[in-house]
Amino acid sequence: MTRASWTQPVDDVGLVPFGKGIERGFDQRLLCTRGMQLEILAGLGLPVGAGLTIPVPNVPGVTSADRAKAAMNLLENISGRQISGTTDTGGLVLLRLSASAPVEAAGLPPDLVCLGLKRSVIPEGLGSRARADLAAAWWKSAAFIAEHALNVPGDELGTLDMDYPDPVERVDPFKRLCEEQGSAPFPTKRSEQVAAGARAMIERWNSPRAARARRKQNLPPDLPLALHLETVVVTEHDNEGNGFAISREMDTGVFAPNGAFRHGFRLSGERQHVGHPLSELPEGVEMLTGVLAELEGRLRSAVIVDFEYGPEGLALVGLEQIRRPSARVATSLAVDLAIRGIIEEDEAVDQTDASHVLELLHPQPKLTGQEVVLVTGLGASPGAAVGQIALDSETAVEMSEAGLPVLLVMSETTPGDLPGMMAADGILTVNGGSASHAAVVARGMGRPAVCGAGGLRIDREARTITSGEHTLSEGAVVSLDGATGVAYVGELSIERPTPSPSLTTLLTWADDARRLGVRANADNGPDMEVAVDNGAEGIGLCRTEHQFMGDRLPLVRAVILSHDLDAEEAALAALADAQREDFRELLRAVGDRPVTVRLLDAPMHEFLPSDPEELADVHQRRMLDHLHEENPMLGVRGVRLALMHEGLYPAQVEGLFNAWVDVVASDDIRPQLEVMIPLVSIPDELVMMLRLIRRVNQQVSSRTGMIIPFTIGTMVETPRAALMADRLAQWAEFLSFGTNDLTQLTYGFSRDDVERRMLGTYLEKGLMTASPFAELDGEGVATLMEYAAAKARAVRPGIKLGICGEHGGDPSSIALCEQLGLDYVSCSPTRIPVARLAAAHARIRTTATDS
């Protein structure tokens, strides 16, 4: 839609009854959003309210009373009601004038409700509720017209508002004010009221305030308006009213129409969220349920409809598509639409956002059913917190200064409690809702909060809190969940939730759609169990480093710092035994899946003490001094360390092969072993290691009488390795791109230094759009990978290619991996669902581009 098209002159387009626009050749440019909503509703054969649209080109015309009169006459024909007349049930028929723009826009003028009141007199004979509503609505509209069309100063209107609290008594002084200070008296003729209303709306739309709103939304300054004229029935009858219905429950995402309604007419253009539940509607919710299902299918989004009801039944008067659905709504909708056959499963996967998956798997308090609920309130600020309770701001500050986690528990908070709120990890209040001071401030500071926990009593004298049977003293530990609004006695652990049924379904469909394998970076059994639960197909990277820390550290040190062969051999034998145990646990979790074990890769200094005094042995101290490195990350690590201590990798694989034999016998599983050599940049480094490892394999085989199948491969994490990939592939059965190091070495970046000191400036100056450590560099690093992949495949066509850097869990990097034709990505266990989805997206989108 171009700007020119809005201002193109259109000849005599007339007035358009709701639902008759498309058949007359009108579109959203002319009918604007509200007109179009009613076209959609009417187009589905649904009953819509009585009203008409004054399309964009006709809006200036309707500021004259003649054209306004024509619009009113047409509306009388459409509705079958006489304006200012009464309905069969004694309701008074008035007018509503509203505005919308060709696109969703904030800053629109408010609805003018209850125009067309004869001589602007609030009539007697209505019930008290109807009369009060009418007077309030009329005042709002009249004051708006006075300010924007008659130039009555807003201050004066404000003063009038205060001096005459009863809007009925305000009418006469208001008319006098218009006569004295306005450019004209308030119009008495009804068509003149409508014309003045249109003028006021146009003026307001041209005001600095509305211009600012358009600027904030990047909308054109000359965005036009269409106006909409409808009937309003002011009535006291309970069988007439209005409301809204949302197609889905916001917290679960499930299709379940919900909303609210109230008796009487719509007081303003804004939805009134307080009212009766839909289940109490005189007509029931069946029709609305059908309408919402129909609309969701047609619009492929969650929707809200506004409705009115009266003696003739239900009429729809508004429609909103939920543009930014929550993760639960989006996933649940996508699955429902696919099951209904409205979209393909691939489309459902495609329209699910990776951020939704992350959101749904966000850590939450772990509930076992055993926890003790202290009290329930409103979830006022999301997040979970655990801490000792403090009953006033001062105590919270003191406890926090003592280094304790604190939950501030108060009846309600005031600005005076700000120090305590800042000191606290979470906030619990007895009074107040989600708009209370505590809630607004807690969200502003990012603190989890539960508010309005009315079941809680605070005894400031005894320094205790009590809820039901629980009495806790100040300092006791409490946990709270700011999302669900529940506070628990004691400490709750925080964990990731299991996927919802919709998400599980979507991920299964994603698995059908993707080509890339998804593996986990997992170092031990528990990690792998999480990974398997999340759908990992195997381990793409098992780092053996951590197995050397803790009580194993002296063994590694003994190897590295050894000065006699016997001591080194003894240490290696102990290492092999220790590794056997580690690998048994890991392989049990792996089952029959593949597992890539990367032999020791950590830089040497990670195993050595920073303080020589820690070493008892004087020879070791001398050796430590000798081994000092200026730049350990580029020093003796990976295969280099293994070549200097030739017993190291054989000891590791001996542990691995023995563990394999153990679990095959004990658990009847056959993990697929893949042994990976890190930091290779010279092909012969790989060849030498290969010989050592094969020798150990044969030794273990002959000792146990079992053939132990394994493949051997190498990391590609130096540019030289990428450039020599064809030579590596002569020996390696798989290559795994270690893109963290490859990125560091391709750029010549030291990651920590660059991310801490330089990245911000580079992003600001536009030199980079993202950290290359978070999103794989598609121009440089990926080119090296592409070259390496092509060279390797030329030598060994079926060679397995993977990626095991952190990039393996990043959607944009996964898309690059798809383009490069890699076989799998490997990422942290918790990122697995994101990787499954992103791999499917990459495949679906590549296929779509190809065709």
Partner: protein, 204 residues
């Protein structure tokens, strides 16, 4: 505390501290004196009134029950509370989207709508502030402070609507609300109950 004699500057510093709840930074001469008198507490870079300090200010600022302006102030205050509710609801919407997710300010349409509605609230509170100022001279400064926060917000820093850590629109509003409560001598709880009554009475 009746025997404490404060200079005009010390008095002003104490009132400011009680209205704002706290102050941060290096203590001024007045603040140091107040701390020595046991009216405020200095904890590292943070200062806050002691219960004695709060009681002192509450007693000092509270209008006598038979003050001639009391009735007028109460009438205006009852008009203020429904607007107060609107402001709190608006701040909630600014922080949390209707589905309960945190507003990440990526939806320009959503934010622009809230900013636009803030003008309605600002328009509604303007005549009330004017009227309060006629009876409570200290209220005069708030109009300018609210406008200042709006200007900063419109300069593009979203924190100026509801952040509790700066003099955002919400923070300034909280201060003026607090000052009204001290003047009337109403507790926060009574205030919330009255607001609830006024809002539900007007809306249902």
């Amino acid at each position: 505390m009746a025997d404490v004699v404060l200079s005009e500057e010390q008095h002003e510093a104490l009132v400011t501290m009680v209205v704002r709840g706290m102050a941060r930074g290096e203590a001024t001469a007045e603040q140091t004196a107040l701390a020595e008198a046991g009216l405020i507490l200095i904890k590292g870079p943070m200062m806050m009134p002691t219960p004695a300090g709060t009681a002192y200010v509450s007693e000092l600022m509270r209008l006598p029950d038979d003050a001639p302006q009391r009735e007028r102030i109460m009438a205006t205050f009852e008009r203020f509370l429904p607007v107060n509710r609107q402001l709190r609801d608006l701040c909630t919407a600014w922080q949390v989207r209707p589905d309960g997710s945190v507003n990440d300010h990526a939806d320009e349409n959503y934010d622009a709508d809230i900013r636009d509605r803030l003008d309605d609230i600002d328009d509604a509170v303007a005549p009330l502030l004017k009227r309060f100022s006629e009876d409570i001279p200290r209220m005069t400064g708030y109009r300018g402070k609210l406008t200042e926060s709006l200007e900063k917000l419109d300069d593009g820093d979203n924190a100026w609507l509801a952040s509790p850590l700066i003099d955002s629109y919400h923070t300034v509003w909280m201060h003026l609300h607090q000052e009204l409560l001290l003047t009337i001598g109403m507790s926060r709880k009574e205030d919330e109950e009255l607001e609830e009554r006024l809002v539900s009475g007007a809306g249902a």
